[in-house]
């Protein structure tokens, strides 16, 4: 019987010609947003390719210098390429699997690092903070798929379901409808299910289609995106259902739905951010840069003062002692920098923990978080990259330290065998899935809470047929 009601309700909804129009509008919005997303991915991949090409070209030139240009005669003057400290490496953060979904926080964090053994760890990202490629984004916000889904999909669902039952109450159909031998709960469930078929499935299908067209290939990521978006759309359907049990007519229901949208999509995320700012304000980049730079300079001054006292060695080593002193200076500076950076790092981590916890404030926040994680544009991935880039820097320093200790020069064979390469290790599947499941759970439980409230309201109401 439920299936029959759903079929008839769906037929009734399809009879109104607005539904295909809504699908079309949503498709156009998704296609436009996916186009933007794909353009951003292409731009970022080009930038990363240029960084990697720069790394390869630098290494090729250094190898050529060693092979063809440096002779015993000019070695003192041009022999820098022979020292391990000349290794110039890059660490890059490739866009995630579903990067076309959203830019997320990717532009707030560096996309690459330049690794030299003597670079202070606070400076390796300096050349690679991407910034926004288009200043108009600052004014108008970014039009990407996450924006379409988080902000506009609810409006589509509400446009098709705000009068889920208010229509019947307003037109006087309700008493006659409910005098039929069908329970109000079952009738409303069937009406909601018909809308789920027509307002949830087509948008999810449209989203998957544009993601695939935009280059997404991971079946697991696509499936998770579909689950998150479907849950989100169902949440808004549940809200419409509850509003329809409270509102007396379609106008009240429309206002109620709109108020819910404003509260959950606009107001609560802004309040959550404000709360995070109050409880755990972000660290100041300028203050941090200045503090770390001061530590680095102090280390350099102290080490140089100590170095002036040491006498030159005879015979002179292959690698000048000035580089060894520099290595000591960097090592000492690193300790000072790490100490100075610790409070900033702790402050950032506290803020991230707050933002993570505040996901429960609204399904819109949870979905935005989930989509950013699927796109690989979340803060956690960016910080993971920063940690690994620092780790790579330390590996390179250790390697260079061995060359210095053994007084060994770089050879073409070293280049031919391959210099160290950075490989980004993504978070374990369990960790990533856990965060996504948490987001899904927030959305699903919020929807379930609305359904429970609707059920209680349905049980209490005595004027349902008025």
């Amino acid at each position: 019987m439920m299936a029959a009601i759903i079929r008839m309700e769906a037929r009734r909804l399809l009879r109104g010609r607005w539904l295909p129009l809504l699908w079309l509008v949503f498709f156009i919005l998704c296609a436009g947003a996916a186009w933007n997303g794909a353009a951003w991915v292409e731009q970022r991949e080009s930038a990363l390719a240029a960084i990697q090409a720069d790394e390869r070209e630098t290494q090729r030139l250094r190898r050529a210098q060693i092979a063809d240009e440096i002779t015993p005669d000019n070695r003192m003057r041009y022999g820098g390429a022979l020292y391990a400290t000349a290794m110039s490496l890059r660490a890059t953060l490739a866009p995630g699997g579903l990067a076309v979904l959203t830019v997320g926080q990717a532009e707030g964090y560096p996309m690459a690092a330049t690794i030299h053994a003597f670079s202070a760890s606070n400076t390796i990202f300096d050349r690679h903070v991407a910034g926004m490629e288009n200043p108009s984004v600052l004014a108008a916000g970014r039009f990407d798929l996450a924006f379409v889904i988080v902000w506009l999909l609810p409006l589509l669902v509400l446009a098709g379901s705000f009068d889920l039952f208010a229509h019947e109450r307003e037109r006087g159909i309700a008493p006659w409808l409910l005098s039929q031998p069908v329970s109000p709960g079952r009738l409303l469930a069937a009406k909601a299910a018909a809308r789920a078929l027509l307002l949830v499935l087509p948008p999810v299908a449209i989203l998957l289609a544009v993601l695939v067209a935009g280059g997404a290939a991971s079946l697991a990521a696509l499936s998770m995106a579909a689950v998150l978006v479907a849950l989100y759309a169902l949440f808004w359907l549940a809200l419409a259902l509850l509003v329809n049990l409270v509102a007396g007519n379609a106008a009240q229901a429309a206002l109620g739905c709109l108020a819910g949208w404003l509260l959950l999509v606009v107001l609560l995320p802004a309040l959550a951010l404000g709360l995070a700012d109050l409880a755990a304000p972000p660290s100041s980049p300028t203050e941090r840069v200045n503090a770390l730079r001061a530590q680095a300079m102090q280390a350099r001054a102290e080490t140089r003062a100590a170095g002036q006292a040491t006498a030159p060695r005879a015979p002179a080593p292959n690698i000048p002692d000035s580089l060894r002193r520099r290595a000591l200076e960097v090592e000492r500076g690193e300790g000072l920098i790490r100490t100075a950076a610790a409070p900033y790092r702790a402050q950032d981590e506290r803020r991230l923990a707050w933002l993570d916890a505040l996901r429960v404030a609204s399904p819109a926040i949870a979905l935005q978080d989930g989509l950013e994680r699927l796109a690989g544009a979340d803060a956690a991935r960016a910080l993971r990259f920063q940690d690994q880039a620092h780790g790579f820097l330390l590996e390179v320093r250790a390697l260079v330290g061995r060359y210095l200790a053994e007084d060994r020069l770089l050879t073409t064979a070293d280049y031919d065998a391959g210099l160290p390469r950075f490989v980004m290790r993504e978070a374990p599947l369990g960790e990533r899935a856990g965060a996504l499941l948490f987001d899904a759970a927030v959305i699903a439980l919020s929807g379930a809470a609305l359904l429970l409230a609707a059920r209680r309201r349905l049980g209490r109401t005595t004027t349902f047929t008025e």
Binding site: M8, R12, G172, I173, W176
Partner: protein, 250 residues
């Protein structure tokens, strides 16, 4: 078929229905007459299970409406004063929808069309959108639903108010056919003359109480009108009497 036992309903301090005992057998039409607020619609809503009684019981075919409202509604068809249909669907699709809700099997287009034609819906209107239907036409769709569901009891709440005389006469002809098919009918109406014509029994209600029941065959239209006006006049004098008494006191 339709049975109430000491049925009462209060809204706060206001007694909307007071101790109503009613029994309507299959093939009987019971017309409730009374002014607005007499308790007619409340009685119908209690029989539908839309309202919970303050005391007493409402039974349909022996089923307590409060205990099993769906089973009771399976035997009932309700016609509100304004039968509202989905305007974007045709009469045939509306009938299909509502008959589907009621679990009517085998709703082929031919059968649906047959039920509508039996209820007097013109063939040309069957496929037309219901948004253009008159009140009379919408009621015919409701009667078609009654035929499709083989409803054993009808609850009619002022079904002919606002209908032109021809449509009203046609509606009552359809109603008599339902009665002849064995349906028990409870009709709330203000139309004394039509009530006398179609009813088996007439009940006069006032202030939530059933004051008097009459066999329709035993009274003429004029007598019925006289009785009705007398009861209503009593109501007016009984409500104004205390004021007079109070005013008369020194």
């Amino acid at each position: 078929m339709l049975h109430t036992q000491a049925l009462s309903k209060s809204f706060g301090a206001q007694r909307a229905l007071d101790n109503l005992d009613l029994r309507i057998a299959p093939g009987e039409i019971f017309c409730m007459l009374g002014a607005n607020g007499a308790g007619k619609t409340t009685t119908i809503k209690l029989l539908l299970g839309f309202l919970a009684p303050t005391s007493g019981r409402a039974l349909v075919d022996g089923i307590d409406v409060q205990k099993d409202p769906l089973a009771a509604r399976r035997r009932l068809l309700y016609l509100p004063e304004q039968v509202a249909l989905y305007g974007e669907l045709s009469g045939l699709e509306n009938l299909d929808y509502f008959a589907g809700l009621a679990g009517v099997p085998d709703r082929t287009p031919a059968r649906l069309r047959g039920w509508l034609e039996q209820a007097g819906v013109p063939a040309a209107a069957i496929e037309r959108r219901a948004s253009g239907y008159s009140k009379g036409m919408r009621q015919k769709v409701a009667i078609a639903l009654s035929i499709a569901r083989a409803a054993r009891a009808l609850l009619l709440d002022e079904p002919t108010s606002g209908l032109d005389p021809q449509a009203s006469a046609e509606f009552h002809r359809l109603l008599l056919r339902q009665r002849d098919a064995g349906a028990a009918v409870l009709m709330a109406t203000h139309d004394l003359f039509r009530a006398r014509e179609v009813a088996t029994t007439i009940g006069l209600m006032r202030d939530g109480r059933l004051l008097r029941t009459l066999r329709a065959a035993d009274v003429s239209a004029l007598e019925l009108e006289q009785l009705y006006l007398e009861e209503m006049a009593l109501a007016t004098s009984s409500t104004s009497a205390p004021e007079t008494d109070l005013k008369g006191q020194p």
